[in-house]
Symmetry: C2
Subunit: 400 residues, 2 copies
């Protein structure tokens, strides 16, 4: 494995014959990402409840940070002062940050009622003001006013210093009308051009930051196709597909991948934003996606929802159990049979059921640890299967 | 180090010449405890936020579990079914449980207002009914009725299966009148005799459980002396001193130790219940205490209160900093200078300040980890100093 190679690069190592699935590797200044790869989310410079040492033990390759949150707390200047996101959290591998767009729209609206000392009685909608220039919004923490533009988002991400950064985009809510979705997509395209230009202006960090463009277009085929073509023509280092996690139907996600991926350049890595369930991961990989991030393993972990693979888990159970249920109170088996993680090798379902009932902090860590291991291990096996020509067989085993 | 020696034993290795401080070792079926030793508390079979692996890395020797909490959740039968407290939580070292008395009195009264569906309008006091036979109380979780007697407490502790167990006692609240304190002490003495008798009845576990008697008597010299003499005459394996953590004055604690310890048998180990601040630890050790338990390192950890030793910390700052304070937001130093723990070697004050502000679960774990390390390391150095004849010198260095 090449360490500290300064240049971003992507290489395809193997392809599945019956689908668009591919195995590859992304080179960054802070290490290699073997794809397909699941990217755990460390929203505020911490993958919730897990230490960087845990993440290394879990063979996590890259961590996802959220620009919106880090901008508000502790602020990009502080993160830069500590040597960038990775060094700030003592993670010595690659990192990726989003543009802040997604959270501005989702959190900006949802949390308005939590802000007490509002200076005027503007309606909920007016908290997020979208113009062609960018987005004005209020912090969900203290109500303070902030502005994101493509230039500001890139500048913040420069200071955060992740290896992979994303162009500023507008993720239209679901459902949105065709007209609004098109308007948001057109804005995203203009912002893509401006993000690219801003990324060329200066380099705050001694390593290269690869910029990914984002395909939007909602659930509308012609918009998705238009967006895929538009973003593909620009000189981005990688391609991201946004807005699939906000829909409700898994079929919509597959439709979007079917429409867009064939129009994306073959030789650039593709990131799918915000997915992490077992069936979604298989669907993403077989549709040619290389990396995907999701809060699911840690969020589920905190709720006591535990991933469980075949033969015990299956698509009917969504490959999950709820360890909080009383039926597990006397169960001496591991969280998931055939799992080799630290938690499954050392603790019983009964004990973890007890930790959840007792609201012990270790419950959240142990469950999160297992869930991250489960997804990292699953995707690592998918990668092996692609390389060995067994991806279709593996898929059949998981979805009998 | 002898492992799995089946017999309980205590040996004094070295004594300080100018105080009652002593270094020794306690042998249990599950390993050796080198004394003086700090005992972290794992109330509900989990040292809050730390895994057994963390505890091993921290060189913790023994863990303290609470009989009251474990009786209510998950219940002693479940714990027994999983192989006892240690095995249930996957801890392969020695454990100690208390008698349940302390929590019955403190939690039974405090939490009455949290119980909604009370069947009658008894006054708060009546929630805990003390008779010569024992104590009737209601669960702070669901209001259900329970009864603890010396026999029941020993029986529960048999099932929990710790290496060291405690006689059932009444810890009178602070302040209490002389009359009430004497009444509670007399009850404690009767219960001591009954606990001893009960402990001889049967063995649920294949290993020996050493039974400690508890000295009570509040802040009254003659009662403390009477209690020390009474408990010393009984055939307990070890001596515990209760009720010093409920007082408000540190001087009271030292008084109690001065009155009682000279009356305790020299050849039995002495446990002081519920202390863990730096000055209290020095005071306990120099007054001849061998082991002491406390929730302080983990509770402080969850509040962002960080132990910091000399030369940075001192008695005026109580050897603490509050890492949540804004002055630490840009501090690139470790939590505590000269500390060799995982947290101090890998994270900055600035980052941990951020984790607390962001309410990240890792904040609580990392701070707890450091605090437990700090106390374990401090007491280990105290032990070395006693053996090397440097205890007085060490004490001077810490309290200049």
């Amino acid at each position: 494995m090449i360490k500290n190679a300064k240049d971003f690069g992507f290489e395809i190592i193997a392809k599945d014959k019956k689908s668009k699935a591919r195995a590859g590797k992304i080179t960054t200044a802070h290490g290699i990402i073997e794809t397909p790869s699941f990217v755990p989310v460390g929203t505020k410079a911490s993958v919730r409840s897990l230490s960087p040492q845990d993440l290394k033990n879990l063979q996590v390759q890259i961590i996802f940070g959220n620009t919106y949150h880090l901008h508000l707390q502790p602020g990009e200047d502080t993160v830069k002062d500590f040597g960038g996101l990775a060094k700030f959290m003592n993670w010595d591998g690659p990192t990726i940050t989003d543009s802040g767009g997604f959270q501005v729209f989702s959190l900006g609206k949802k949390t308005v009622k939590m802000i007490e000392d509002f200076e005027d009685d503007e309606s909920e909608e007016s908290l997020v003001k979208i113009t062609e220039d960018g987005v004005e919004f209020r912090s969900h923490i203290d109500g303070s006013k902030h502005m994101f533009t493509p230039e500001i988002s890139v500048e913040i991400q420069r200071k955060l210093g992740a290896d992979l950064i994303l162009a500023f985009d507008e993720c239209a809510p679901h459902p949105s009308t065709y007209e609004y979705t098109k308007e948001a997509m057109d804005r995203t395209h203009n912002w893509a051009i401006r993000s690219l230009a801003a990324s060329k202006l200066k380099q705050h960090h001694p390593w290269q930051q690869a910029l990914y463009g984002i395909v939007q277009g909602g659930i509308y085929k012609d918009l998705r196709e238009e967006s895929a073509k538009f973003i593909s023509k620009l000189n981005f280092d990688g391609m991201a597909i946004g807005g699939v996690s906000v829909g409700e139907s898994k079929k919509e996600m597959v439709d979007v991948l079917n429409w867009t991926v064939p129009l994306l350049p073959e030789d650039k890595p593709r990131h799918l934003l915000g997915i992490g369930e077992v069936d979604d991961i298989f669907a993403a990989v077989e549709n040619g996606i290389d990396t995907f991030d999701c809060v699911i393993p840690t969020r589920f972990g905190r709720y006591g929802i535990i991933f469980s693979g075949i033969p015990e888990g299956n698509i009917k159970t969504k490959f999950r159990i709820d360890i909080k249920k009383s039926i597990f109170a006397k169960d001496k088996g591991p969280l998931s049979r055939n799992c080799n993680c630290y938690v499954c090798k050392n603790f019983t379902r009964g004990y973890i059921n007890h930790l959840f009932k007792a609201q012990e902090l270790s419950a959240y860590r142990l469950a999160s640890y297992h869930n991250v291991y489960f997804l990292i291990n699953l995707v690592s096996k998918i990668r092996e299967a692609i390389i060995d020509g067994n991806f279709q067989k593996m898929k059949q085993e998981w979805f009998v």
